[in-house]
Subunit: 331 residues, 2 copies
């Protein structure tokens, strides 16, 4: 009887995230029953949202991963056996397969993916990052040509797509990043109109220089001091998409938010969302993204690490900002 490797979450994170939180186990390859399919995973996506899934305090968010269970993640794989009417052996599929080499599924939440597409592109654009960017930008941010958008975490997997979609839609786009290398990438490669390096720039003065006209849409991925400086510069009827607060995920004390007086004065809309609420719209969101991808308007870069077990230490790269592009584990 053959086996495969899986990684289980054994402890909730309290500070840094590393191998000490997990256990690597060998599991027997299961029998496939009627209505099921067996997937061999080829690529796994590592995303900041995972820290939320690993934590116990997520209340009304999607349930946390139970201790002793396989760590949750989305990924790409190939069907190796199918007794499910909608899937055949050899199909390329995407789904929440978890940190394991093989996954048994009843087909729910599993989507077929064109086998001609580059797997790193699929994970970087058509999976969680692109879905999240598209859902947040269009359903909350409602960008209009001629407006100004600022996105934090702009070189990240979500932020880079948000900025490129907005540029393609005719907005002026400024990205906030944490290194000169990332600033160069978003302005020179992705076509952003400007970059703020929150580690070296005086954020307020730099924004005054780049967006004297004020900000209509803010796509928030990070929190931190950037949030306050952008908030003060929002235009009347501005929209703020609250997608991530990565600066706060590992903070001991939550940072203060801005005073709400500006919400009245500028009649702001601020809305948070999490992608799992909208997974039923996956096909629709992918359809919205497709023409931008086909026109070559969405560039991406991926940061691939090798082997299932590399995920355990690799996840921390997202919180140190060391990853350069969408973090992918190749199995």
């Amino acid at each position: 009887m053959s086996t495969y490797t899986a990684i289980k979450l054994m402890q909730r994170p309290t500070g840094s995230i590393g191998p000490e939180l997990f256990e690597v186990v060998q599991e027997s390859v299961p029998e496939v029953s009627d209505g099921e399919l067996l997937i061999r995973q080829t690529h796994m996506s590592l995303d900041p949202a995972m820290l939320g899934w690993m934590s116990a305090d997520t209340e009304s968010y999607i349930p946390p991963v139970e201790l002793g269970s396989v760590m949750r993640s989305s990924g790409l794989g190939e069907v190796v056996e199918s007794k499910h009417p909608k899937f055949a052996k050899g199909d390329r599929v995407m789904g929440m397969f978890g940190w394991q080499e093989m996954a048994l599924s009843d087909g729910r939440g599993v989507n077929k993916i064109d086998a001609a597409l580059d797997p790193e592109m699929v994970i970087s654009v058509f999976a969680l990052p692109g879905l999240t960017a598209t859902q947040g930008l269009y359903s909350i941010g409602k960008p209009k040509s001629g407006e100004t958008l600022v996105v934090s975490g702009a070189a990240g997997s979500v932020g880079s797509i948000v900025g490129q979609l907005a540029k393609a839609d005719g907005l002026k786009v400024i990205g906030v990043v944490g290194s000169q290398e990332k600033a160069d990438w978003i302005t020179k490669e992705l076509g952003f109109d400007g970059a703020v390096n929150y580690k070296t720039d005086d954020i307020g003065s730099r924004l005054d220089e780049l967006v004297p006209e004020g900000i209509d849409v803010y796509f928030e991925n990070t929190g931190g001091p950037v949030q306050h400086r952008v908030f003060e510069r929002m235009n009347a009827h501005g929209r703020i998409v609250v997608c991530g607060m990565i600066a706060d995920y590992t903070a001991k004390e939550p940072a203060s938010g801005p005073n709400w007086m500006n919400i009245i004065k500028k009649r702001l809309l601020i809305q948070g969302f999490t992608m799992p609420d909208h997974f039923d719209k996956t096909k629709e969101l992918q359809a919205k993204l497709t023409p931008y991808v086909q026109k070559g308007q969405i560039k991406y870069r991926s940061h691939t690490i090798e082997g299932l077990e590399s995920a355990m230490s690799g996840l921390n790269l997202l919180f140190t900002g060391e990853n350069k592009g969408k973090l992918i584990v190749k199995l």
Copy 2:
């Protein structure tokens, strides 16, 4: 040639609000030209929003009152002369007539009011407070029967109407107030399900007691510590209507807002509004309010002070919380 009294704003407020900011002048009664009407004002409304109108920093909000101009306010009056096709002598009208006994108008923004209605009821319910409550509650709060709503400034002119509309719509309603007398009024007279006295209660514990199920809609009129305690208790997909921050209007330093992590976790919507953006919907909003008033579901109390000049010191009552009900100046 006859004259009337008017009050002009001469200084911007820096701390307290009193007669030192204004000048009382006598003006000549103007000639009425074609397309105009002359109104004798009978009742003036004093509202917290006035402090914003008096301040110079309102940027993209409605323009501040210019120094040397008649102070802005809404009021009720009688047409004493009309060369306007839509108005006749004797009509009861409502509009932004300002701090003056008589007002010349071209009819824009002037609405006819049923002369049978009690003038204090008109100002307390169908004017700014009721319009503001209705606009904010329904267009942002989107209350649903069975949900829980918390409103701060609950004994105020806007808050008391918000709570009563929500009760009539089948919500559980808790009001935050600053005195036992106000707590008694909203629970015993208006039918609220409970009250928090922010001056004497431990706000968090009291909310835990009153709304263990969490909060679906928060209607924010005050800011202050209440904001944080309510924010922490919002349910998933909760809505926060940001209408007023009266605790901050006279504060030297703006208070910190809550950390935004909860906006993501609970997928909250937070939206600010100011009624002047929506004055074109006045008739529609009054029509929405009317059935509640006709069914006796909207009680109000007014606090009337006498004489135009009483407005100068009376305005401050709104910020000390000493007014008991809608503040009205009877001319």
